[in-house]
């Protein structure tokens, strides 16, 4: 039997039982759609995180005590501003070096308050990281040198404390200490569920005095060029190790951070896809079940076809194509549904979703494969039917 003929016969058989075919397809549709949607969400999240890490600035080198690794315990930093000066000498340009000492803090203004991340920083921060101001100005060297109590608010902090006023020029208090707002950051959005607009930047010297400490948590360096970024990192680590014998330091690049985050998010996406895959599997079992029913129902037809010359393979191919057609049509519908839902989720909710061609190809390929895998047993059963017995069937 010609293949085109076999397709036509399979299609006719599906049409003959429209409702049953549709219900069977529904299982596949749901399975494929959930694969597409969940992979899109996983991919979208990964892409957004990568954008944000890249959005920090280019050629970044982050210097932290300990080892940057998944699951590594955060260490108490032995670094001070003197170490930052030493790093500046290694780099040869103080404007390329930024520090941070960060802590959660409740920020108040009048009777309003907001829990934010208070960051003590140098005036060099905007030249190292990419951070845009919406209003006002950033810190100056003299703000840092004189521990001036001035602050730049993240977008969400500004919104929480001053919903109906321009924050610039207003007063805020942190742990009873008053700061004057001199600027507001442009919104950044979320990263891995962390609100990056909740930061409050103050001079590092003021933050250290507020917390009664000399430490800085980390040092960030904007390398002059990409080629020698690893070598620069090694020289910085060597200098810090010389200054703090017995303490381990790491200098990591954005690529390395992306690599670690990518691994985590890749696992996340994989887990989501696997969960969705289970529903696709269940859909496949439904296909198998309905094909067995179909073979039984059409036993006489199979007997007749055999009597007029259908070989076992002809019958098997006919039923296999029917199963593949079920799952393929279901797969295409599921893809359309999944893409549509993912686009809606991306547009209407804060959850990012990105459609990738490979996930569509995979979902369709898997659904067609499900048809083959779950259609093979019923098809073989049909092909092997004894024509004499089949013709006598009720």
């Amino acid at each position: 039997m010609r293949v085109a003929e076999a397709w036509r016969v399979a299609l006719d058989a599906l049409r003959a039982n429209r409702l049953r075919s549709a219900l069977t397809m529904l299982g596949v549709i749901i399975g494929v759609a959930s694969v597409v949607i969940l992979v899109a969400i996983g991919t979208g999240t990964k892409q957004r995180v990568e954008q944000q890490v890249e959005g920090l600035g280019s050629n970044l080198l982050l210097v932290v005590p300990g080892r940057l690794d998944v699951g590594a315990a955060p260490a108490v930093s032995p670094l001070t501003l003197d170490d930052a000066d030493a790093v500046s000498r290694v780099v040869g340009d103080p404007d390329r070096v930024a520090v941070t000492v960060a802590s959660g803090a409740t920020v108040r203004a009048g009777n309003r308050s907001d829990f934010s991340t208070l960051q003590g920083v140098l005036e060099t921060t905007p030249s190292v990281f990419t951070r845009d101001l919406a209003r006002g100005r950033y810190l100056t060297g003299s703000d840092v040198d004189t521990s001036r109590r001035v602050a730049i608010l993240g977008a969400s902090v500004a919104r929480a404390l001053f919903p109906d006023r321009d924050p610039v020029g207003q007063q805020i208090t942190v742990s009873g200490v008053r700061f004057r707002v001199i600027g507001v950051f442009a919104p950044l959005g979320q990263s891995l569920g962390v609100d990056r607009d909740d930061e409050v930047h103050v001079p590092v010297t003021a933050a250290q005095r507020l917390y009664g400490t000399q430490r800085v948590d980390g040092i960030a360096v904007k390398a002059p060029d990409r080629e020698r970024i690893d070598e620069l990192g090694e020289r910085i680590v060597a200098e810090l190790t010389r200054r703090h014998p017995g303490v381990e330091f790491s200098a990591v690049t954005q690529e390395q951070i992306l690599g670690v985050l990518g691994d985590i998010l890749g696992i996340l996406t994989g887990v989501l896809a696997a969960i969705a895959g289970i529903s696709l599997l269940v859909g496949g079992v439904g296909v198998s079940n309905i094909m067995l029913v179909s073979v039984r129902e059409r036993t006489r037809e199979i007997g007749l076809r055999k009597a007029v010359g259908a070989r076992p393979r002809d019958i098997g191919v006919q039923f296999l194509l029917e199963a593949v057609l079920l799952t393929s049509i279901g797969g295409l519908t599921g893809m359309a549904l999944g893409v549509g839902t993912a686009l809606l989720v991306d547009a209407l909710s804060p959850i990012p979703a990105a459609i990738t061609w490979w996930s569509l190809a995979l979902a369709f390929g898997v659904s067609a494969a499900v048809g083959i895998v779950f259609g093979v047993v019923p098809a073989q059963r049909a092909g092997r039917l004894d024509p004499v017995v089949a013709l006598r069937a009720e």
Binding site: R2, G303, R305, K306, A307, V308, G309, A310, R311
Partner: protein
């Protein structure tokens, strides 16, 4: 084809040849014999009525002759090919090329037009769609249904459905047409018309017709009558006309133990009537008087032959 059987020489190859064929079924470990050594030959153009009580093995024999089943013993040659040597796919191809089936229950595909039903065997022969439809339409014309090409089985009467089934059986130009009680589901008038059609096609195209029937009148019209009982052939009129006294003389329908009188029918019908009784129920015989043309044309072709050439074969 129709001219084939005219020279009554032994060289005419048998369409189907069964030698001591048996078929035993295994039911829960118990052997149940359905056929116990049947020897017969169906020659091209034969018109054979197969009679016998239910359970006598008629259907089993039909399935074997049609290559739907394999014997458990003996030798069965269909279209010159030994069934035992053929794989399932090869057997399917053999069925497609040499056998046409007509069933009591029609066995038409539902929701499928008459022309597509008739074209079905050609699908498995790899014939292209356009040519399939042309041949199927022509065949439907020959069975008098040229005006019903697009009708589905549920839009056709019983007689029309059986005509579609007959067209389907013949569209591949087989050498043997096996009809298992083709009129069993039809009223007598319609049945007679279908029977007439079968006889006419047998006469015109030279396809051998082997028909299971319970109707003695029908059996009497056949050129040859084979009676079965308990899995063996008890009478075969092909052997009778020449040597009525020695039916077991190693000729075509040699039964193992020939009881003198098969319970059904009796010796009276053993002698083949040259023509069927002129019973034209439907009256729609296209041109020729029923029985006359079918019987006469066929008779000259087939009647003399079964006795002599087959006998010379051995």
């Amino acid at each position: 084809m129709p001219a084939g059987p005219v020279p009554p020489v032994s060289a005419a190859p048998a369409a189907i040849e069964a030698v001591d064929v048996s078929r035993t079924y295994q039911l829960d470990g118990v052997s149940v014999p359905a056929l116990r050594g049947v020897t017969l030959t169906v020659a091209p153009g034969d018109y054979v009525a197969l009679v016998g009580p239910s359970g006598s093995g008629k259907s089993t024999l039909m399935h074997l002759l049609g290559g739907l089943d394999r014997p458990t013993g003996g030798r069965l040659v269909i279209g010159g090919r030994d069934v035992a040597s053929l794989s399932a796919p090869e057997l399917a191809v053999l069925r497609n090329e040499t056998i046409g089936f007509v069933f009591q229950a029609f066995h038409l595909l539902p929701r499928t037009s008459a022309v597509d039903n008739v074209a079905l065997p050609l699908v498995y022969r790899g014939v292209g769609a356009r040519q399939r439809r042309e041949r199927a339409a022509a065949m439907l014309g020959r069975v008098g249904l040229g005006h019903r090409l697009g009708h589905r089985p549920n839009q056709l009467s019983g007689g029309e459905q059986q005509r579609v089934a007959i067209a389907r059986a013949l569209v591949t130009d087989p050498t043997v047409l096996l009809a298992d009680e083709p009129t069993g589901n039809l009223d007598s008038v319609t049945g007679a018309a279908v029977l007439e059609l079968l006889e006419r096609l047998n006469a015109e195209s030279g396809v051998a017709l082997v028909m299971v029937t319970h109707d003695q009148e029908v059996a009497a019209r056949a050129g040859r009558r084979i009676a079965m009982r308990d899995g063996v052939v008890v009478a075969d009129s092909a052997a009778s006309p020449a040597e009525p006294a020695a039916p077991a003389s190693g000729l075509v329908g040699a039964a193992h133990d020939p009881p003198p009188s098969g319970g059904d029918g009796g010796p009276a019908t053993l002698v083949p009537a040259p023509s069927a009784e002129p019973r034209s129920a439907s009256g729609s015989g296209p041109g020729h008087p029923p029985g006359g043309s079918g019987g006469a044309a066929g008779a000259t072709g087939r009647l003399p032959r079964p006795g002599e050439p087959d006998g010379a074969d051995r």
